[in-house]
Subunit: 221 residues, 2 copies
DNA sequence: TTGTACGACTTACAGCGTAAGAACGGCCGA
DNA sequence: TCGGCCGTTCTTACGCTGTAAGTCGTACAA
């Protein structure tokens, strides 16, 4: 089977899936395809192009999933439709946990991502949004529209379960509120899913907060 | 003046400020300090450590700024205090535009970031939040708490002003809603500030949406 | 049969992070 | 005054990265 851009990109996703994004080098990618590194350059202009293509591939996978969801004909319940769409997108990203980081580094916009946003926008417009409010909505959602958020610190991160109590006590002087919160929350569910400490419950809480806010803004308009 | 961890980290910020984060290599950093690359390793364990330190330095700069803001004594108007704090943090990041990307790659949490979040949390608790709701709030804010968001596609990105109209017309078939929106919005203010198309107005819209939502959740509790 | 274009390969290079150890300089006990 | 020590810096070198340049085999058109 000859090389092709398609095959190269699919292999790239496969390599990243199995070894993480830092294991995706041109040489390893070639090896995975039974070829030499430089051979890839005939089908791909450089590594940036590979990453662009990979993002497009993942976004395409997302589109395939979300486009199977049947959308309410009247568009009245936009919130439910948007919510379902976003949570479905998230499921795809959960299968490629390295992907959010790559999405964030892209500066060229993938057509598939555009397509995704376009459909999302369409739902809001159908639900009664003005262009202006829909525009704000897109920015307010940001990466959450595609199903992920990036946390800047991970309360449950680092250290085993036993150390954790000791660590907390030690930090209490410096960070009293954080320690108080973490102690009460006992937020030690290990099924943190995407990014760092971005679990499903928290994601949905934030998502609903925004969607509800947008709905209220729409009603006021 | 001898090398020191402090001096190395400050130089790292300076290099990134002037040449972007991709220009920050150990060799260039050393050159900037009038030393050899390997000399840095006496003061710093490796490049990851440099990046950790840089994040801590920026977060410290943020803390210095936000801690000068006088906080309402009673904590009743938590929303105003939190809002002001976050927008001030944003101003610091606007002086180091490469920084958000570095923040997102860190897996070890900087003490200064913890300190920042701790104080933010304190404001919410003083404002009547339960630990549980405050916890949700932290996740809902995510990186926005520190003053930035990362957009996944940039509507105003790429192409000169003249090309843009032509591009839009060309894309209208594929992305009708996006094109419709962009046409109406004429969202061509060039003072996009942080990340890609993350301008001040949009940031504040999203921030207020979340803060208002949190306030309502607090009232209901 | 010969030219031409495609597609894969070989070789090579500069730049990266950093391991290992040598060399320097200043202080301290003899 | 003289070692010796030790904190700090430098030299050298290695493996890895992305990729520029050029070579080679094959398939097909003339």
């Amino acid at each position: 089977m000859p090389l092709s851009r398609e095959r190269v990109l699919r292999a790239a996703v496969s390599v990243a899936d199995s070894g993480g994004i830092e294991s995706l080098t041109m040489r390893r990618l070639a090896e995975h395809l039974g070829a030499e590194a430089m051979s890839l350059y005939y089908h791909v202009t450089n590594k940036e192009d590979v990453l662009d293509g990979v993002v497009d591939l993942i976004a395409t996978e997302i589109n395939e999933v979300v486009e199977r969801i049947d959308v309410p004909a009247d568009g009245a319940d936009w919130k439910k439709a948007v919510r379902q769409r976003i949570l479905s997108a998230r499921e795809v990203l959960l299968r490629h946990r390295w992907a959010p980081g790559v999405f964030e580094t892209r500066t060229n916009t993938s057509p598939a991502v555009l397509r995704y946003y376009d459909a999302l926008l369409g739902m809001m417009l159908a639900g009664g949004f003005s262009y202006d409010l829909a525009h704000h909505a897109m920015h307010a959602l940001g990466s959450r529209a595609l199903g992920f958020t990036q946390e800047l610190f991970d309360p449950s991160g680092g250290g085993g379960a036993t150390d954790q109590a000791a660590d907390l006590a030690e930090m209490a002087g410096q960070f009293p509120h954080l320690v108080g919160m973490l102690t009460e929350i006992a937020h030690d569910d290990p099924d943190s899913t995407l990014g760092w400490c971005d679990d499903q419950t928290e994601f949905e809480f934030g998502l609903d907060l925004i969607l509800d806010g947008l709905d209220r803004a729409r009603e006021r308009a």
